[in-house]
Symmetry: C2
Subunit: 481 residues, 2 copies
């Protein structure tokens, strides 16, 4: 019955117990909005979408907060690069806010298309500049930070637990930290809380240390605790942010509030291409927008969810197509069940067996998702259910009542929680032009064969269907009435 | 050649001359995001959309900034009401940011559907709390504002030009200002720059005067000048914001920067219902989303633009339908021109006359829009052009080359600037189900009449068009191949 989550900080699966019974606060690292969302983003946000939906489906009230990084994320983790958004703005010759607006819009549109529910609300770094300055001031006062030449750094030595999330020891923490030629840090491990604005820097604010802008890590500490309390239930994000980003969040938040920052750390693994991480900087990414031109949202979700979130997903076109083929069986089942319901079949020889199976499958899928969001297990259960039910349908052994019960299970998990069941549409979005062309030619053939009654019938019946056929000097035209 | 605009502050049409040749900065008051956008909003944002598009089409580089009011807009202009967003959040039992996110999304989606181009960027009040606090501090220092009990008020007496935009004299300025029972203002005309947060107030920030939030007017002064300079070219907004909102903006900005705040004030008139202003508070509004279910975006735009922006538009369903009927002629012309182009007609007897007319119409429409964005005049010119061109088309008197030239004029103004020309779609998004039903019945009638060749032809031709008809025990079914 209990939901378990793999808690990265304790390196084990643990029963999930929210701080306040019945209520969950979850913070997920959102995008830095300077480019198109790609499949790697999709994996992360689909993962947390399913987690949140499963928590809600389990009766919990969830406040899901996600940040939009619109300032301060540097191109280089060593605090010496350029602001990613300002860099893009310079390239595009526009104000940085144009970059932010464009890519925030794209992000939200793509996520909507992927059937990802919006968080309860988004919070922007730029909306919390004052709060970030106050947090940095407090860290200086408490002896966890120091100012040098308008920059403020967190002194990692002052927080002995630094490394507890990533498990990196002192030596390892230096790995990947680029040696800065003219750094004013006391220690290379220290990280920026506030950066001095160099000449020409656009997104900057007044502060006790002069004009500057917040470091990337501080925004998450400030916003997560502002909206979810000093100790939050769940913090989600990509594995690549475990170090240094999330490690820094812990150091900042716990030093600020003297309270554990987060109870459950949930990290999703990456999407790879030929074994290499898909990422904007590597240039090997496929954007969501691009993928959505050739794949359905459900196929992309199914591709993501048939791998466990803690394992890497290797992207190939074939893998997405394979995921889609499983879905068409799900979709066909849905249609077949709707037909049985429509025909109002009164009794079926497999009703009892099917009803029992319904209960078992419902419990099994719940159990799979309860077990650290085992979506591959849940989907496999759903698919083998499809096989079983198809057997009943082939034997015409289901009543409308039981078909409806089966459909409820399929939709509850397949649509509401996993979001892989295509919606039933009674409006087929097809091009009627070739059909009209065929009808016009057919009518002409009838006329040529002197079957005027048939030709007139075509015309009249089309009129009833809302389409007018007109004989003009330039030939036959049609239009909607 | 010159563009003229009616400048509200000088109560006359004036030639528009930007401060920096070739570049225009425009700030338009955006929505307070606590409810659905309605036709009144549509009128305002369609107006400024056409203004900006016409400026750009005239070769000017435009930076168009619009604000999103997500904090501080009180239900009562007398500075004593509740924050509109927080009030809605209380009703809906959610965090105020959920209200902000929901309605900002709705606003942007509705505007997109109405073919309104996004501004270069949106700026949120909540993103500029620090800047607003700094501005209020400066106003206090300069003797234009005073603090009482954690509230800061602008002292209207200190700005002798107060009233210059609205033309309200001292006595009139008190009109509509509700008498507050326990006001701490020196003078009822004074307005709030910073409000103390009462217990239970959620959206609040630290300030030199304690916890509170900015008044509504200060956000526009701060953000307009931050992104467009101390003196901006054009400030747009609804007539209802002329007083007090825009009057307050002037008083704040000019006292802060010792420079004229804005050169051209452009105010759109309202949408009325039976002569009464359409508004959220009056409850007589039709939302954009609702209108878009029964009208095309082009019909709504045409309804708005066939009245001049400085005159009120009286909403009736008939008025929108009437606007749509004009558009269908425009749309049919487009189709007819495309046919001529497709047929590659080599010469036409009316080519010379039509080419001359093209040039005249192009100049005339430009002249109409140059003249204070006279959209009714521009649309009338376009419609009479349609009549003339139809005459040529009926006489088969146009070559493909001239048809293309005509189409360029029609699209340039009708689509790119006015946004009333429906897009040509080769994919008609209609429900083919009734057509298929008709065909299946027709085929059955043919079978019953023993006209098997016709019945088979229907089936075979549908197959060619990608639709399979199947005779099953349960009757005839169809599906896409």
């Amino acid at each position: 019955m209990a939901i378990t989550l793999y808690n990265s900080i304790n390196r084990q699966k643990e029963e999930f117990v929210p701080i306040e019974p019945g209520h969950v606060g979850i913070y997920v690292c959102g995008p830095t909005v300077y480019g198109p969302p790609h499949l790697g983003h999709a994996k992360s946000y689909i993962t947390f979408d399913v987690l949140v939906k499963h928590l809600r489906h389990s009766g919990l009230t969830v406040r899901y907060v996600q940040n939009i990084t619109d300032v301060g994320h540097l191109t280089d983790d060593a605090d010496s690069g350029e602001d990613k958004i300002q860099r893009q703005a310079r390239i595009d010759h526009v104000h940085p806010w144009e970059i932010v607006d464009k890519w925030t819009r794209q992000y939200m549109n793509d996520m909507e298309k992927l059937r990802i529910a919006h968080p309860n609300f988004y919070v922007r770094a730029s909306q919390h500049i004052g709060e970030q300055i106050e947090a940095v001031q407090k860290l200086v006062e408490k002896g966890h930070a120091y100012e040098v030449n308008g920059n403020v750094y967190y002194e990692v030595e002052s927080f002995p637990e630094y490394g507890k999330l990533s498990g990196r020891r002192l030596e390892e923490q230096k790995e990947g930290v680029r040696v800065e030629s003219r750094s004013d840090k006391k220690n290379p491990r220290d990280f920026a809380l506030w950066k001095k604005a160099e000449p020409g820097h656009i997104l900057k604010w007044n502060s006790p240390w002069g004009e500057g802008y917040p470091g990337w890590h501080i925004e998450c500490s400030v916003m997560a605790t502002k909206y979810l309390g000093n100790t939050i239930d769940i913090h989600g994000g990509g594995l690549e942010n475990k170090f240094p980003h999330h490690e820094c969040e812990i150091a900042q938040s716990e030093a600020l509030n003297d309270a554990p920052f987060c109870r459950y750390w949930v990290h999703n693994n990456m999407v790879t291409v030929d074994g290499i991480k898909m990422g904007k900087s590597l240039g090997n990414f496929r954007t969501c927008e691009d993928l959505l031109t050739s794949h359905s949202p459900e196929a992309i979700r199914a591709f993501v969810l048939t791998t466990h979130y803690r394992s890497p997903s290797n992207y190939t076109e074939e893998a997405i197509s394979a995921a889609a083929s499983g879905l068409s069986r799900l979709s066909q089942l849905q249609t077949a069940l709707l037909e049985i319901i429509e025909k109002n079949v009164s009794a079926g020889t497999a009703d009892n067996e099917a009803e029992k199976l319904c209960g078992e499958v419902d419990a099994k899928i719940r159990e799979r998702l309860d077990d650290d969001i085992d979506t591959p297990g849940a989907i496999a259960t759903l698919y083998s259910f499809v096989t079983e039910v198809n057997r009943f349908i082939s034997a015409s052994a289901l009543s409308a009542r039981v078909a409806a019960a089966i459909l409820t299970v399929v939709k509850e998990w397949g649509s509401e929680v996993l979001g892989i069941l295509p919606a039933v549409s009674n409006k087929t979005d097809v091009d009627i032009a070739p059909i009209m062309q065929m009808l016009i030619e057919l009518r002409q053939e009838m006329k040529d064969a002197k079957k005027y009654d048939v030709a007139d019938a075509i015309r009249n019946r089309l009129k009833d269907a809302g389409i007018l056929i007109e004989d003009t000097r330039d030939g036959v035209r049609w239009k909607r009435i």
